[in-house]
């Protein structure tokens, strides 16, 4: 008997979104790093219950407003990132270059502001448990920021230097959830560490 066959030669050689295995890998990365960030934020509140007064040191309004600006820039970067994903699905090289570049630029500016915030913090990581947790929370999230910016820069380099393969459009599209995760982390850090000093 001749074996029956299922011919898949007509299927595409790439797919976007949750159809792509890479999308799942990135979502799982988000789950891993998100769990770490969430546990760290929980640890912040755990320490809060054990340290009196809490916080032991005041954060200046300047630092709080710079952190607010940083968070706002991250939130603003969502727009070019969404447009970047659309451009990728349209397979528009110019669109991907533009919107990916703009999002990367915003992210880089915000990451520099975070660096500046570290200098403005009136305590070190080795002063109290509060200092340890704040530096670690902001530090871990800063690593996420740098990773997101670094990855975008690599993709931008590929898009400009080429040769650009069609499946790179998938790479540009599926990494957007990672960027949204970085934005969410920046908002979380702002809510936990800086918001009380903004609304004071």
């Amino acid at each position: 008997m001749t074996r029956r066959t299922l011919d898949v030669s007509g299927l595409p050689s790439y797919a976007f979104g949750a159809r792509a295995p890479l999308w799942w890998a990135l979502m799982l990365m988000v789950a891993i790093e998100g769990t770490m960030l969430a546990l760290l934020a929980l640890s912040y509140f755990y320490v809060r219950d054990r340290l009196s007064p809490f916080p032991p040191v005041s954060i200046s309004r300047t630092a709080a407003w710079i952190a607010t600006a940083e968070m706002a820039i991250w939130v603003a970067s969502v727009v070019p990132t969404m447009l970047q994903a659309r451009a990728a699905r349209r397979e528009s090289l110019d669109g991907m270059r533009l919107w990916l570049g703009l999002a990367t630029l915003l992210g880089a500016v915000a990451a520099v502001l975070r660096w500046y915030e570290f200098h403005l913090l009136p305590f070190r990581w080795d002063d109290t448990a509060y200092g340890s947790i704040v530096w670690t929370l902001l530090g871990l999230q800063w690593v996420h920021q740098l990773t997101g910016v670094g990855e975008n820069l690599l993709m931008e380099a590929v898009l400009f230097k080429g040769p650009v393969e069609k499946h790179h459009c998938v790479d540009v599209e599926v990494t957007t959830p990672l960027w949204y995760f970085v934005v969410s982390g920046a908002v979380l850090c702002w809510l936990v560490v800086f918001l009380p000093w903004v609304i004071r």
Partner: protein, 620 residues
Amino acid sequence: MSEALARAWGRPPGFRGWLAETDHKAIGKRYIATALIFFLLGGVLALIMRLQLAKPDNNLVGPDVYDQIFTTHGSTMMFLFAVPIMQGIGIYLVPLMVGTRNTAFPRLNAFGYWSYLIGAVFLWVGLVTNTGPDAGWFAYVPLAGPEYGTGKRMDVWAQMITFTELSALAAAINIIATVFKQRAAGMGLHRMPIFVWASLIVSFMVIFAMPSVMLSSGMLASDRLVATHFFNAAEGGDALLWQHLFWYFAHPEVYIIFLPATGFVTSIIVPFARSQLVGYSAAVLALVTTAFIGFGVWVHHMFATGLPQLGESFFTAASMLITIPTGIQFFLWIATIWRGRVRLDTPMWWVLAFVLTFIIGGLTGVMIAAVPLNLQVHDTFFIVAHLHYVLIGGAVFPLFGAIYFWFPKVTGRMLDERLGKWSCAFVFVGFQLTFFPMHQLGLEGMPRRVFTYAKDTGWAQLNLLATIGAFTLGLGFLLTVINGFRSMRRGAVAGPDPWKADGLEWTTSSPPPRWNFTELPTVRDRYAAWTNAPDQAVITGLDETKRMVLVTTLSDARPDHRNELAGPTVMPLLVALAVGVLFIGSIFTPWTVPIGAALTIPPLVYWFWPKPPHKELLKP
């Protein structure tokens, strides 16, 4: 056609090719072999401990060495043996069971293995240079912190954790993506083999549990190295924060080890009972439920810390609740055996040893879920007995069953049945002799983690019995090692399916070719090999000159698109080495953190940079 596949799925020749390997079977075998070596090394440490405890007031090893030995034994067995071997078997088997040619991210797979190897060797280099960790495998602060844990011993432990967890997370991502997106056409979620379900669920547990220990070991390392105060009560930190973060990981870890073992048991029982599994859906739901409840029981490790009673009651209830899904699995296995016609070959012997032993461990687990009894036996040998009944009985016995079951697939040769049964008998009897007396020792108040005891305690006879049992147990394992080496050369040729088993992995040759299946299968039933009729369709239309795999939809496994996988490269090894510089160096100076991070960039860029031959190009 096979020649094209052989060229496409080959690797560069020589040692460089070996370092560049990305085939899931080769990496899976490396995981398994490395984990078994560390299992034997951890076993040797156990025998040294048993010799030391064989008689009272013994001075074979002193307290300092004893502390390093029991800590390295526990850390080795948990982090370097149990989790890696379960994941290694998953990496080897899952692509074969779901009918694809490699895992979704072959290079990530290689990176995971190299990270594991670096971390594992690092721990043992620490031990042999008298820098072995000495605060127990769960590294409680303040004993493990900067105040009492002086020297570099606990730094070694903390960084070993980082490597092994990186590896576990890499494997988990790979297994989930492979199971979700690369199953054979027709293998809907409702047709997945139970072992694949177990691997999938365990991988999700790894994703949500391992970050907790990575975070806490990072906090411990920074408390020790850069003077943070996470666990320093004097500056607002809290030692119990460590316990919460550690056990939030470490209790699910028990199920990360145990659930794949239940997958082995089901995989063995079905062909050896010659019956379909009774209650497939219930078995899957039992796995899922166990995983969920497994995240809600960690505080039962902390009952002696003076937690609020309401919290204790909740965690007692949750700890008892988790026996229900496990019980369901047991009843399903019994029903399957009842319905079938059982063949008692060696894999089934191990399964029966598992059933008897794990039930005892499960029952003592219910006992110590109750706070009063827990407080009574806390930190005694009763706990040592319980955890070994659960971990060896619950995971190692099924693992050895799995070794006897899948050895023919991996090597193409059968293990010797007679030697296998002797091995199982020695291990079973030796195990009971070793660990059952420990229940009594614990009830009599013998504390764990002490290097000796006084003569007038009356513990000498039971300890001697346990030591005799330990050597019997070791002899049993040794028989399987001998069996393995002998059978690899002289074992009977297995053929593709020596057990008449049901999974897709048995439809390809033994050992499978590098591309797994010359004709990619489709599936129309849960028992793919049993229902693989001559008219069953095979996949065509994948370019066989490339590393192409079929990507299918998540739920129904309908063909969705074709995907070309990455080929072999040494870049994962170079990235793992750079990460090694980062973490190992950080024990001595924090400057290796930016240096190591910078070192990862060139290989990562090379790893991802498009290289010829290029795929379909985008027109500007």
